[in-house]
């Protein structure tokens, strides 16, 4: 399943690229993409895993940009 989320306070393009790499490493993620310009995160994963993945993704984003939040699609 593919889901798109909005990202708040995504300010650094280099960080976005790093976040994308790390999110792709999360267990269960088929593919993840961050569009810095659109401030969007698109995750492809199994429906049952998606909540856990988003929680982990949120942690990753916080590491790179403390203010960065993933909000509903």
């Amino acid at each position: 399943m593919k889901k798109t989320y909005r990202m708040q306070n995504l300010d650094c393009a280099d960080c976005a690229a790093k976040m994308e790499n790390k999110i792709n490493e999360i267990d269960g993620v088929t593919s993840a993409k961050i569009s810095f310009i659109m401030q969007k995160l698109t995750i492809e994963a199994d429906e049952n895993d998606i909540e856990r993945i988003i929680r982990e993704a949120q942690k990753i984003c916080k590491k790179f940009e403390p203010d960065c939040k993933i909000i509903g699609g």
Binding site: A13, D14, K18, F36, I37, M38, F64
Partner: protein, 606 residues
């Protein structure tokens, strides 16, 4: 400006004032304290996140590098510089954030086709719902000034709709009961009741938005280069910075502080941000701008190829020509011209073939159906009927042969339709497709854009192809091609080439080409699917426009790469040789980012 940016601005102003006070102050300890306070005010968040990230293992993050650089400067008693660097870093960041926010806004304005609401009628009342909640078959109401939220058919009302956001076309389109309307258009004057033909995800507007947003995923060579480059760039510069202090200090321990100063400048320059943001931004701007003109480009890679292709191949019918046949000439041997046309029209009266339609359109006189008897079609040859008691045949040379009438040699462009009775040829009608008004201009513009080879492929006969290529200025043609032969003809082209077709029956050719351009694709899923570049209306002039946009985008991307790399390299060399200053280093970091972003934003304006 966002709240965050206003806070940053306030901190910048306070710091600047503290620094002025510090400069004026003559008591050393007070001066020193003022600098420290200023430094904390401007840089506390950078230092906090640097430490936090350090414990998480992100050593080479921007905050960390900046903290080391400034704290290092304090350590070697360059406290003025330390505060200045942090201040400039923050000012640069503020500018960068502002520029990014601004470009994000311009881009989202380009894509303002997403409808927010749909009105549906429930129990006699009109209620507003999310377009995503509307189902196929539902009836929606679109008031004047509103966006049509979903594709559908008009069941009540007449109006004009504005398709500018989708096609770039300024002229409104009139719609009435029975017409199909497309989501994303704006309803101008009348209230329309529309029966929805598909759900939101399947609607034109959702598909276009998805296409434009996903286009960022198809990365161009220059973007790939930058991503690869920045991966290695930061670690290399950091290692160089360490060596720059370590090696000379071993031999001349007394030069430590000067060496450290040089290294610190390296650290400031080591962030690849300017590159990482400005190149994709240029491409996204290019794609966004093109989509505003009704040209959808499915990815940066296609934009890049489009700018480089020097060969264009056009399909003829429906692409270079209007695809509607019209009567060009009537030649009679015995009868009067009008009489011949009326006879032909009556014989073709019941046929729906495009050729029959063109004759019916030309013949203004109302035909009395009762005068037509025994109308029949002779497959592959033509038609016959008894009109006012006289048998009339209308068809091609094969028809004349079966009738035993000699076929005269005729050199005409287009399809020749013979009209005869049982014994004698009465005359003939020449019907041909008309060239699109902007075809000649487009070919000329393509040539001026450096396209050397412009080819036309057609199933038509040679003489017609020759005529069309002469009229439009096309450099070469291949005629009498069967559909599968068109793909083979494309196989013979070695260079990178674009194929332009109407997308309806040339999907294989569109896929075969390096760049497949589909014309008049609004509402045609097959065309949008198969092509790399989709032109929403059927204006040929959009093709040179697309090339201009792609060339401009590529130019901006290149400028940004060269500019950012050159400045960084120069500053690194200057820093290493001791000629650099911290200010220069900060400029090479954030200053370059801001300039590159501003340059990329030029793409959003005409």
């Amino acid at each position: 400006m966002s709240n965050k940016q206003i806070k940053a601005l306030i901190r910048i102003i306070i710091t600047a004032m503290l620094m002025i006070t510090a400069f004026l102050c003559r008591i050393f300890i007070v001066k020193y304290l003022l600098f420290i306070i200023a430094f904390i005010i401007i840089g506390y968040d950078v230092i906090i996140s640097a430490f936090r990230n350090l414990f998480r293992g992100h050593v080479l993050d921007e905050n960390f590098l900046m903290s080391i650089a400034t704290i290092g400067a304090f350590a070697i008693d360059e406290y003025t510089e330390a505060v200045f660097v942090m201040l400039f870093f923050k000012i640069g960041e503020l500018f960068e954030g502002y520029a990014v926010g601004k470009s994000r806004k311009s881009i989202s304005q380009l894509m303002e086709i997403r409808p927010d609401i749909a009105n549906i009628e429930k129990d006699g009342k009109i209620i507003e719902v999310d377009p995503q909640d509307v189902k196929k078959g539902d009836i929606i109401i679109v008031k004047p000034g509103e966006k049509i939220p979903l594709d559908g058919t008009v069941i009540e009302g007449t109006s004009s709709v504005n398709t500018t956001a989708l096609t770039g076309e300024a002229l409104p389109q009139d719609v009435q009961i029975g017409d199909d309307v497309i989501s994303g258009c704006i309803n101008i004057n009348g209230v329309l009741k529309i029966k929805v033909s598909c759900e939101f995800e399947e609607s034109t507007v959702a598909k276009i938005l998805e296409l434009v947003e996903n286009s960022v995923d198809n990365k161009s060579q220059s973007e790939k280069f930058i991503t690869r480059f920045s991966k290695y760039y930061t670690p290399i510069v950091v290692v160089l910075a360490i060596l720059l202090t370590a090696i000379p200090t071993v031999f001349h321990p007394e030069s430590f502080s000067e060496n450290l100063r040089r290294s610190l400048m390296f650290l400031v320059v080591s962030c690849p941000c300017a590159l990482v943001i400005s190149v994709p931004l240029a491409f996204f701007g290019g794609i966004g701008f093109a989509s505003k003109q009704g040209i959808l480009i499915k990815g940066s890679n296609y934009l890049e190829t489009l700018a480089k292709c020097k060969t264009f191949v056009f399909d003829k019918t429906g692409t270079l020509t209007k695809g509607n046949f019209t009567v060009q000439k009537i030649v009679t041997f015995s009868a009067d011209e009008n009489e011949l046309l009326e006879n032909a029209c009556a014989a073709e009266y019941f046929s729906e073939h495009p050729i029959a339609l063109s004759i019916k359109e030309k013949c203004k006189k109302q035909i009395d159906e009762r005068e037509i008897k025994n109308a029949e079609e002779i497959p592959g040859k033509g038609v016959s009927a008894i009109i006012k008691g006289k048998k009339v045949f209308v068809g091609n040379d094969k028809l004349l042969k079966t009738l035993g009438i000699n076929t005269p040699e005729i050199h005409e462009i287009g399809t020749v339709l013979f009209v005869s009775d049982e014994k004698e040829l009465l005359g003939y009608i020449v019907i041909s497709d008309t060239i699109k008004d902007d075809a000649k201009d487009t070919v000329a513009k393509l040539k001026s854009l450096g396209i050397k080879d412009i080819k036309m492929l057609t199933g038509d006969k040679k003489s017609t192809a020759e005529y069309f290529s002469k009229e439009t200025g096309i450099t070469s043609y291949e005629a009498q091609l069967l559909p599968q032969e068109k793909v083979k003809a494309l196989d013979r082209i070695d260079d990178c080439f674009c194929f332009v077709g109407d997308g309806i029956n040339d999907a294989p050719s569109l896929k075969k080409a390096d760049i497949g351009i589909a014309m008049g694709a609004l509402g045609s899923d097959a065309a949008i699917e198969a092509a790399d570049v989709v032109i929403m209306d059927d204006k040929l002039s959009k093709i040179p426009e697309a090339i201009t946009i792609s060339q401009k985008t590529l130019k901006i991307a290149k400028q940004n790469i060269i500019f950012a790399l050159a400045i960084k390299f120069i500053v690194l060399v200057l820093s290493a040789s001791g000629l650099g200053t911290m200010f220069l280093a900060v400029f090479a970091d954030v200053g370059v980012s801001v300039i590159a972003i501003l340059n990329a934003m030029r793409m959003l304006k005409k």
